[in-house]
């Protein structure tokens, strides 16, 4: 409606006046100056020191993702197999059109990873209860926190003090998801969070 009114007003103006309205002056550009680098957090090393060489972070390849889900799930190698076309879509080279693996965590990749996480975690959860305790991934120990720590270690290799900061958030997620009537929904949610986390996906 507003657009229609504006068009009518414009038409009327065009019919009733011949006076040209001068264009508005160009907006003044805002000066941007950087006087100093922003303050660094306490304990942050000097910026020039950041050039210490180390490996660059790298996303898991499709091959690594598949075999790692097998290993974490304690499944026979080759159990997790993405369809060949999907692998190419997610960045694996086919050496016909693509000769270099795309290891960017693109939105498309993350979308499918979310799907994979749902499927893998639900299956693992269903399988967990029929396995001996020593082979379980989600419900290996009697307490929630022991299980969360175990899952964090298996998915991300974080343990001990390095894992402490993660635990409260996983606990909160577990508790929120456990409101569901679905059994082990808390563990499934934690599993999905871990699969889609940078700590699992990037190394």
């Amino acid at each position: 409606m507003r657009t229609t009114l504006a068009l009518v007003a414009l038409a009327l103006a065009g019919c009733t006046t011949t006076t040209e309205v001068p264009p508005p002056p160009p907006p003044e550009s805002l000066p941007v100056t950087i006087d100093a680098l922003p303050p660094m957090p306490d304990g942050h090393p000097d910026l020039p020191g950041l050039a210490v060489p180390s490996p660059a972070p790298r996303r898991l390849s499709i091959e690594q993702l598949q075999s790692s889900l097998d290993a974490i799930g304690e499944l026979p190698p080759g159990t997790v197999q993405l369809p060949a076309d999907l692998k190419v879509t997610l960045g694996q080279p086919d050496y016909l059109r693509v000769t270099e693996e795309n290891l960017e965590p693109t939105p498309l990749f993350m979308k499918f990873l979310g799907d994979i996480a749902v499927s893998a975690c639900n299956s693992l959860s269903d399988y967990d209860v029929v396995r001996p305790a020593g082979e379980r991934v989600m419900t290996r120990f009697p307490t929630r926190d022991e299980n969360l720590r175990f899952m964090l270690l298996r998915f991300t290799a974080l343990e001990g003090a390095a894992a402490d900061g993660y635990l409260p958030r996983l606990q909160a997620l577990y508790d929120a998801a456990s409101a569901s009537p679905r059994p082990r929904a808390g563990y499934e949610a934690v599993c999905m969070a871990l699969i889609t986390s940078p700590e699992f996906l990037v190394y």
Binding site: L50, P53, A56, T99, A157, R169, A185, S197
Partner: protein, 554 residues
């Protein structure tokens, strides 16, 4: 499923929260703790996270033991990592390569209820078509006249004959010994050779033969009635030719797929053996020994000569071991001699990179870490130097080709768009004995495909030479006749091969290019150590992952 989505949404929120857990202090340049170092090593060296047992054993250790790294380097996972590394160099995919020419391709069709036959639609076009194309045989058993020729009956549509059809015969196919399948009579013929372009050979045969005669008669050769080998591309023009005994000359989608996969696997198996047994890594480019399996042996024995586009011949320098059939299990050694040189002369490499320039370019890029880069825009095409036939002289082009052409010549004694060597006896340097007095189809084919028959401008001094010799200097001819081994040895001797391999391995495991300081201070030492220790690939990888930089946080 809805609940799963909700849980996923919650998990994504939690995941964002996970990212905040690291605290305010940057961890740049801090060493990884033991568990995370183990994870990085395991992912890099085996493509998989550590097992539960390995993580338990790592507990309480800040470093990962050398023994653990050695175990990873000896694992099957590392073999797969090495394969993936080389796949990125060799681009193993032959899906676009027509190793199975369509006139030798069989498909299975149900031509009547309960009657499935194998037949070649393109052969049908040549032999059965009058006006209607792609007609299979009739659903009756084949019959033969007193001379042994297939009896055909017209297919009538709208009162007119549109095709002529023979019946089917039962054959034991090479891909499933012990079974019998129905095959259209023309396709099931077993002759080793038959005359081409006979009178009454069918509309398409006649049409194609008329065109072919036009070319052949230009060199004084009339192909009419000439015997053609039925496992050659000329077999299409010989209605007496079929797929041979047990259909051995023909392929199906499944057999062609198996052959392509075997060609690629042959390269990777060579690399597997070299790296896992600790042979010098230079053998990847120099070794004579390869292996062959049933599908590849069958192809090399019976099918490699069937295509006009992809040239193949029996390779006397790499004989197929006797006794192998399509269904033989496993791989057996196939010794090679002559100009063969590691992966660079395997069928997989030669067919992936079909021109000699492409072969040289891939080698240059993959194993010397170098690229051909033009030195600017091309000059006007009306400039005299833009009209030079010799690309090493043509301005604009010469920036790359002055180096590329002599490199490419090293594959000059291997067929372009093919996978077999061109030996001096059948393919002499000059065309005299090949192109003079053509009396048969084989001679005609060799003459036209491989020799510089016409020449203009820069080419004039080279008229009549085997094409790879055109424009080559005497020094470059020496490289051509020595083969790819000569090019590889130069690269090894100059240090370029070791430097490039070191750089690639560093880049692979550090997940980034080396810094300028590393180029100067770290890589030369690694390359020197690699070379001094017999080009031990595993040792090089170990040196990279043992480097302090590898053990820092990203």
């Amino acid at each position: 499923m809805k609940w799963s989505r909700l849980v996923l949404a919650l998990s994504l929120v939690a995941q964002a929260a996970l990212a905040q857990s690291a605290g305010p202090v940057c961890e740049v340049a801090r060493p990884l703790d033991g568990q995370r170092l183990l994870r990085r090593l395991s992912l890099d060296l085996r493509h998989v996270v550590p097992s539960r047992v390995e993580q338990e054993a790592q507990r309480g250790h800040e470093d990962v033991s050398e023994a653990t790294i050695d175990a990873m380097l000896s694992s099957d996972g590392f073999r797969k990592v090495v394969r993936a590394y080389h796949a990125d160099l060799l681009w193993p995919n032959l899906d676009a390569v027509e190793i199975d020419p369509n006139y030798f391709d069989l498909i299975e069709t149900e031509i009547a209820p309960g009657v499935k036959v194998w037949w070649s639609p393109v052969r049908s076009l040549y032999y059965r078509t009058i006006t209607k194309v792609f007609v299979p045989c009739s659903a009756q058993p084949a019959s033969y006249d007193t001379s042994g020729y297939l009896v055909t009956a017209p297919l009538i549509e709208g009162g007119m004959p549109v095709a002529r059809q023979e019946g089917w015969v039962e054959v034991e196919p090479y891909w499933a010994p012990g079974t019998r399948v129905k095959v259209c009579g023309y396709d099931a013929q077993t002759a080793a050779q038959a005359p081409i372009c006979p009178t009454g050979g069918g509309a398409y045969v006649t049409q194609t033969c008329n065109q072919f005669r036009g070319y052949a008669q230009a060199v004084g050769f009339d192909p009419t009635g000439q015997p053609a080998a039925c496992d050659s591309a000329f077999g299409l023009l010989a209605p007496g030719c079929g797929c041979g005994p047990n259909l051995r000359f023909c392929s199906t989608d499944a057999t062609a797929k198996a052959v392509r996969a075997s060609m690629l696997e042959q390269q990777l198996r060579l690399i597997d053996r070299i790296v896992t047994t600790g042979r010098p890594y230079t053998d990847v480019l120099l070794a004579k020994d390869v292996e062959v399996n049933g599908p590849l042996a069958h192809y090399l024995t019976f099918q490699s000569t069937t295509s006009f586009d992809i040239f193949g011949e029996k390779d006397v320098t790499a004989p197929v071991p006797a006794g192998l059939s399509y269904t033989s299990p496993g791989w057996v050694p196939q010794p090679r001699a002559g100009r063969h040189s590691g992966v660079l002369t395997t069928a997989g490499y030669l067919l992936k990179f079909q021109s000699n320039r492409a072969r040289a370019h891939r080698f240059y890029s993959a194993f010397e870490c170098s690229q051909f880069v033009p030195n600017g825009p091309l000059p006007s095409p009306s400039e005299p130097c833009s009209k030079r036939e010799d690309l090493t002289q043509r301005c604009g082009c010469n920036a790359c080709h002055v180096k590329l052409e002599p490199m490419a010549a090293h594959w000059g004694r291997f067929a372009e768009y093919g996978h077999t060597p061109l030996d001096e006896a059948r393919y002499p340097k000059t065309y005299g004995t090949v192109c003079a007095g053509i009396t048969n189809l084989d001679q005609l084919f060799r003459c036209f495909r491989f020799y510089q028959l016409e020449a203009v401008g820069d080419e004039l001094p080279f008229k009549g030479l085997l094409k790879p010799y055109v424009f080559r200097t005497p020094e470059e001819e020496a490289g051509l006749e020595a083969g790819p081994t000569h090019l590889v040895q130069e690269s090894i001797d100059s240090g370029r091969f070791a430097q490039c391999t070191t750089r690639r391995v560093w880049t692979r495991f550090m997940h980034r290019e080396p810094t300028a300081a590393e180029e100067l201070e770290v890589l030369p030492g690694l390359a020197q150590d690699f070379e001094a220790n017999g080009f031990d690939f595993k040792r090089l990888v170990k040196a990279v992952v043992m480097n302090p930089a590898y053990r820092r946080m990203p």
